[in-house]
Symmetry: C2
Subunit: 116 residues, 2 copies
């Protein structure tokens, strides 16, 4: 069993992501024996946002803390702590932090795609 | 895209679970088009606990709020907001709330097993 506070797991993300104010952590993945799906945790700093993109695989997201907006079918929808988001495959999406506090969310993807 | 606060999703759980102080919600599942894995959110009320059990499938858990302990290989390990837990298949587990405040956690399972 793996039991850890997520902040104790080293971030794994590109230099570009860091410059954009995104901290990403792979917290449960293949290396832990998780063969079916994978958990990542992202922190978006003040007013930062994830890239606008789409891909074949789905996301299952839980907003842990902070406030932001998610782009869904051309509209920005407000989300805050306790929101769940299901993004089907091939649907364009982007998440932005709309406050001075970090926006922290859990984002899961199926196995077989890049883990982070 | 499904975007909802989890508390607005109707709990789905057995009468036995309710009596035990457990509120369980299936927040993302097959009915939403999630074919690979499934997200549930559980609230354990004051001093309540999940059943001690094991099964073939894994759990990926994120502790959203509250404080508790998880049984891992015969020992109780403290967890609080921000902890992640990976429980491999066939490993005995149980989670208990050790405070007066609700213990709220996200728990994911692979597709193909009972969703909640």
């Amino acid at each position: 069993m793996k039991i850890k506070h997520y902040s104790g797991i080293e971030p794994k993300h590109s230099e570009k992501a860091t410059q954009s104010g995104i901290t990403g952590r792979l917290v449960i993945g293949k290396g832990d024996g998780a063969d079916n799906f994978c958990m990542r945790i992202f922190e978006l700093s003040k007013n930062s946002c994830s890239p606008r993109h789409s891909h074949e695989w789905e996301h299952e997201i839980f907003i842990h803390s902070g406030k932001g907006e998610i782009l869904s079918e051309g509209k920005w929808i407000s989300v805050t702590s306790g929101y769940i988001i299901f993004i089907p495959g091939n649907q364009e999406h982007q998440i932005k932090n709309t406050t001075d506090q970090p926006l922290i969310f859990v984002c899961l993807i199926p196995a077989g795609v890049p883990e982070i």
